[in-house]
């Protein structure tokens, strides 16, 4: 079973409320859910929609096609009815002039006002209708309603609204599928933004400074929302330059710290990135990519910043860059980013995108107990402590300012072992080598890409970051169709793990990327010489779907 429900309407109509509630409803009914959001850069009006995909098998991507369309306005019907195979739920008192066999009119608003005296409860009615049409367990939905509203009175009213909708839905069931509660497995439903945020908290991040920028703000919201619980300071900076510099100050003074932003905000942090490189101050930078250049499409998705981020900053210094493949990976890679930043005293960059940040997915569990926090801080340095001591690993002892009896000194100028500004060109040379050496060791810490599908296939699809779930499903489908294909998917992207790549040198590669120039392909050629000339690219601001990949794969193969 694989049901695709799309809820569409204007910004501000409550699309997110419906999709969040329904996603949890399916989760608690024991199903797998993937919920993806398409929205415009405006607060009210326009056309937004969400796809909630439900299945008894794991799903990890949105897909083409609509089984049930919830149309909160007329425009939604116009735009989506042709894709809709099942039925279209709409308010037949507000939208009168529709005709067609898929239509299922319900006086949503009338019921809402009847039951709750509040128009906003249309969302609850719609949820009820959906649950009813799918013959789900209404008690699960009722409980969700009670949790949703702090005021129990309002909660009960919405329960009534849900029930009305449910009755109407149930008594009009025509759909071939049913949401029979499955045995609960205590799975989690999590979006990428929360996964990064939660990972940061578990990693011990206690300071975040940022200037709001979509889709990076999600991580800021998550930390702010939990700031009291975990004593986290979230400071909104006057600009991104202040944000990165505050974070470097806080990190220097001993707190695990991060910024969160998007490509445009990161562009302003590039000088600060170089400062982190020179002063060997650990820091974590989360970048939620969106289509550029410049302001671009602020609420859409793209993978346009891989090469920018790898090469950003004047001068040469190592960095760790990870592009989590899904929300679960985002949680763990965020923790890894903090650990590697501290281990090598480098900047770590978490490269996500709007698609990953805003999509909710089902995961079995998150291991919050066995997480290791490795700080690598010297608490009892000896008397002749030198912050930038030349060592064979290139890693110098890191102590914190305020430690009794020693001084911690660092400088954005070239500096000597103590950290003092120097013009000694021999020291310069040694310091360059010391800084770069850490990048060599770092190579041992990066994770090889996932290699999946028919490993003997002559064709290898390559991808990175948030496209994993989509590509995995596409490969699975192709395999089922008897087409032999494999997938090589990178989560850690820099330093580029190259063992698997090198073992596959002679295959036919096709790079699938959510950008217009095939940046992973360029990176792979630079690092391994493998020349990927075939590409499946998408750059209209929307994520791929498995169906699209299958189709475009067949076009070229």
């Amino acid at each position: 079973m694989d049901i695709k429900i799309v809820i569409g309407g204007e910004a501000g109509q409550g699309i997110q409320t419906i999709s969040n509630i329904m996603s949890k409803f399916f989760l608690r009914s024991g199903y797998y859910v993937f919920t993806e959001q398409s929205y415009q850069s405006r607060i009210r009006g326009g056309h937004n929609f969400t796809q909630v995909r439900v299945s008894s098998e794991p799903v990890s991507s949105p897909d083409d096609g609509i089984d049930i369309l919830v149309a909160l306005n007329r425009e939604t019907v116009d735009i989506h009815s042709s894709e809709t195979g099942g039925i279209i739920i709409y308010d037949n008192e507000l939208i009168k002039d529709l005709s067609g066999d898929k239509l299922f009119g319900v006086p949503l608003q009338k019921i809402a006002i009847e039951k709750t005296q509040n128009k906003l409860a249309v969302n609850s009615v719609a949820c009820g209708v959906l649950a009813g049409l799918l013959d789900g367990d209404i008690s699960i939905l009722e409980r969700l309603m009670r949790e949703q509203f702090k005021d129990p009175d309002i909660g009960e009213k919405n329960v009534l609204a849900v029930r009305s909708g449910y009755e109407i839905g149930k008594s009009n069931r025509t759909l071939p599928f049913k949401i029979t509660p499955l045995s609960q497995k205590g799975r989690l439903l999590i979006d990428g933004g929360s996964a990064v945020g939660f990972g940061a908290i578990v990693a011990g991040c206690r300071f975040l400074s940022a200037y709001p920028m979509t889709p990076g703000t999600a991580v800021m919201n998550f930390l702010a929302g939990h700031s009291k619980r975990f004593n986290i300071v979230v400071e909104q900076a006057e600009d991104e330059i202040a944000a990165i510099n505050m974070v470097l100050g806080a990190s220097f003074a001993g707190v695990r710290s991060m910024v969160t932003t998007s490509g445009g905000g990161f562009a302003l942090m590039v000088e600060g990135l170089s400062l982190a490189g020179m002063t060997e101050t650990p820091c974590v930078i989360h970048i939620g990519q969106r289509p550029g250049p410049a302001t671009g499409l602020p609420t859409r998705t793209e993978q346009g910043e891989l090469l920018f981020v790898i090469n950003a900053g004047h001068g040469e210094f190592p960095r760790y860059i990870t592009a989590p493949r899904d929300a679960e990976d985002a949680f763990y890679k965020t923790i890894k980013a903090f650990n590697l930043a501290d281990k090598y005293q480098i900047p770590s960059i978490i490269l996500t995108d709007q698609f990953l940040i805003d999509s909710m997915t089902t995961i079995d569990s998150l291991d919050v107990k066995d997480i290791k926090i490795e700080r690598h801080i010297v608490t009892e340095p000896d008397n002749n402590y030198a912050r930038h001591l030349l060592t064979s690993s290139g890693i110098s002892p890191r102590a914190l300012p305020g430690t009794e009896g020693i001084l911690v000194i660092t400088d954005s100028d070239e500096h000597d072992e103590e950290g003092h500004i120097t013009e000694d060109l021999e020291i310069r040379k040694n310091m360059v080598e010391k800084r770069l050496k850490r990048g060599e060791y770092l190579k041992e810490d990066v994770e090889e890409p996932v290699f999946f599908g028919d490993k003997d296939s002559s064709i290898v699809l390559t991808g990175w970051g948030s496209t994993y779930g989509i590509l995995k499903e596409a490969v699975n489908r192709l395999t089922k169709e008897g087409i032999s294909v494999s997938l090589l998917h990178f989560s850690d992207v820099y330093p580029l793990p190259d063992k698997t790549l090198n073992s596959l040198r002679d295959k036919r590669f096709i790079s699938v990327e959510n950008n217009a120039t095939g940046q992973l392909a360029q990176l792979i050629r630079r690092e391994t010489g493998i020349n990927i000339t075939e590409k499946i690219l998408k750059y209209n601001g929307r994520p791929f779907t498995p169906s699209e990949i299958v189709r475009r794969f067949k076009e070229i193969c």
Partner: protein
């Protein structure tokens, strides 16, 4: 009072002979020693410029960062460990030019840190271009027809933003300078000290002489808590230039308003052994 020797290190200042910076360096050590501030609990942050090199020349913890960004680094460090004394020391170009946005917004924040600006009304390290505080008409290699813009008035801006402590001193009056440094350090809140500093190499307009003829000390009759009066004082720049504490107030300090720091410095917060089940519940 700590022996002033504890601040000496083996670094040799890369300043020009006769530069006003030397006196500021001496006063800094003096003020710190009089206030008993042990080098290991002092964190200096600085940017880039001749002034910004100063903290290399005495013993302290130091983050010498980017041009114009030191206040931000200091703010982050102070939030992370509010037990440190954090002082930013940089030049006028650094703090009022490149760093202008951080200057104004950190005045609003009122973190309990100190900002000492060596104001030589010029870009020294980059060889003598006009700075935001250069007087109108000053000619340089870049401003070949003379500076068009009126100088940035840091004192007036700070008062407009209700800064917690705003003072001016002069590197040619060490006694006054030491007392201003001490007042700034002991004041609770974001304290700005603008220090007039002759640049003997590039600023031929605002010389030692020029300053000495103009500066006068505010006396006891001046009430630095009167904001409107302070604003009037701030506009005095010409034949007479007031030095002293021009404005101060008792605005609440940022870090004291953070619940998160009630249990101690942020960097000491426990990060292991935490029960996360409540967070996990949010995802069910």
């Amino acid at each position: 009072m700590l022996d002033i020797e504890v601040y000496n290190n083996n670094q040799i200042p890369a300043w020009c002979p006769g530069c006003g910076n030397f006196s500021i360096l001496r006063c800094m050590k003096q003020a710190l020693s009089e206030l008993d501030i042990s080098p290991d609990r002092l964190l200096m942050v600085s940017g880039i410029g001749q002034a910004a090199k100063a903290p290399h020349y005495f013993r302290c913890n130091l983050f010498n960062g980017l041009h114009g960004r030191d206040i931000s680094v200091g703010a982050g460090a102070k939030i992370a460990n509010h037990e440190l004394l954090v002082i930013s020391e940089s030049g006028d170009g650094n703090t009022y030019g490149e760093g202008g946005n951080h200057f104004i917004h950190n005045i609003r924040r009122n973190i309990n840190m100190k900002v000492f600006i060596h104001n030589n009304q010029i870009y020294g390290l980059t060889k003598g271009q006009a700075s935001p505080t250069s007087d109108t008409g000053m000619k340089t290699k870049v401003q070949v027809d003379g500076v068009i813009n009126p100088p940035f008035n840091p004192i007036a801006v700070a008062i407009a933003l209700n800064a917690s402590f705003v003072a001016r001193s002069f590197s040619g009056d060490p006694e006054h300078l030491v007392s201003m440094m001490k007042s700034a350090i002991t004041h609770k809140g974001f304290a700005i000290l603008d220090i007039l500093q002759p640049c003997v190499t590039f600023n031929r307009l605002n010389t030692f002489q020029w300053y000495r003829q103009r500066v006068y000390k505010l006396d006891d009759s001046y009430d630095p808590t009167d904001r409107k009066l302070a604003f009037e004082k701030a506009l005095e720049w010409g034949d007479k230039i007031p030095i002293g504490v021009i404005y101060k107030n008792n605005r609440p300090v940022y870090e004291e308003q953070l619940q998160q720091l009630k249990d101690g410095p942020l960097y000491k917060q426990p990060v292991t052994g935490i029960d996360y089940s409540d967070v996990l519940k949010e995802f069910i």
